[in-house]
Symmetry: C2
DNA sequence: TGTGTTACCGACCGTTCGTTCAGTAGACCG
DNA sequence: CGGTCTACTGAACGAACGGTCGGTAACACA
């Protein structure tokens, strides 16, 4: 099993100007790499040794930046959830018809999903094995409820078809959204908006060709 | 962490009449329980100790039935993939208009997914860490290609809208199908057909209420 | 040159992992 | 009863795991 690949360049600091002290990774760059590797091998399937290799340091160096593997998971999941909930607080998600708010949240979710791909991917794979994971699942469940409520409202408004259970519909809907993490490749391929367009079109109008 | 739960009853043999020898688990009942536990905790997150507890035996007993953890994964993944490919060979999936064949495969996939829930769930979570997982991913990719081809044919027939990329559409479509494993509970809740109906309706006609 | 600050190494610890093996236990049949 | 079949136990193995610790390396600024 060749687990080797080029180590991350620590010089690519996320924010602004240099700090004092020896150059290298900081907590943020470690988190970014960790999330990526967690996705490639799964959280449980990733050893601290794997992370160290990807970072180009020894594993003991990781503990200089974070308290342990659990904190890396926790911070990654919080980051994803914070971004998703931020969408639900945007103006387009709080004012207007339910169906339009739903579309706004869908497009916003696609955006978050693409921008924070590794973190959201990790979130969608959580099984609830530990306390950290259980907490994340609980927050995610609250997000899902917001969506289900929007669909219910849309049905009441007469904008969303009433012949499917809103709970099932909202789950299928975001099953479609979330599935993007399974195949989206940031570098090559479609841009965020194109995917969102295709998604919204299929979700609302369906795959069948419109009658002429 | 309380990892304890009632052990599986070995007496509930899957097939037919009793065999000779001491009663207990056999290879199939071990596989069934293993797939369930792999889903609850993730494959990498499940230890042989966890499996043994769920089976109500010591972990060394497991090696009487299977060669190791890898074989359990391998057999589970093959079982899921065999069932999915079987759908694509059914008559409804090989004759008729592409859009109807697509619907047949979608409904069949939902059926397989519900009937073999633990195995399919496991398949959808595979990351490709080992050779066994890589092989399963390869087979799954072939299945996905079949779907994409059906969508492309449907577009050529004029039955499926041409304003979305067939590759993206087919991925979103089966993202929706596959998301069912995330929330479907076999005991309580909807039956297999109801879900398939809702799925097909949303996928082909969309969520928006039809104009009257 | 020296001081503060940040980043890292290498050896090591206790635990848990998947796996092995020699021996034992229970049901059926004669 | 003995023979045969299948299912299981308990102790142990080496490897890999997450994590700790004392010491060191490289920068900025003075």
């Amino acid at each position: 099993m060749a687990r080797t690949s080029a180590p991350e360049n620590p010089a690519a600091r996320s924010t602004g100007r240099r700090r004092s002290g020896r150059p290298g990774h900081d907590a943020d760059s470690v988190l970014r790499v960790a999330a990526r590797v967690f996705n490639e091998r799964g959280y449980d399937g990733t050893s601290m040794e794997d992370l160290a290799r990807a970072l180009g340091v020894t594993k003991s160096a990781i503990y200089h930046h974070v308290s342990g593997k659990t904190e890396l998971l926790s911070r990654s999941l919080d980051l994803a959830l914070d971004a998703l909930f931020a969408v639900t607080r945007e103006e387009g998600a709080t004012t207007g018809h339910a169906i339009d708010r739903l579309e706004h949240v869908m497009r916003g979710s696609v955006r978050v999903l693409v921008e924070e791909l590794p973190h959201v991917t990790l979130l969608l794979r959580v099984r609830g094995n530990t306390e950290v994971e259980k907490r994340a699942l609980e927050r995610r469940r609250r997000f899902d409820h917001l969506i289900a409520d929007l669909v219910r409202e849309g049905v009441v408004d007469g904008d969303i078809r009433s012949d499917v259970d809103p709970a099932v519909a909202s789950r299928l809907l975001f099953g479609m959204v979330n599935s993007i993490v399974e195949w989206y490749k940031p570098d090559r391929g479609l841009a965020c908006e194109e995917i969102a367009d295709a998604l919204v079109r299929i979700a609302f109008e369906g795959m069948r060709a419109p009658k002429e």
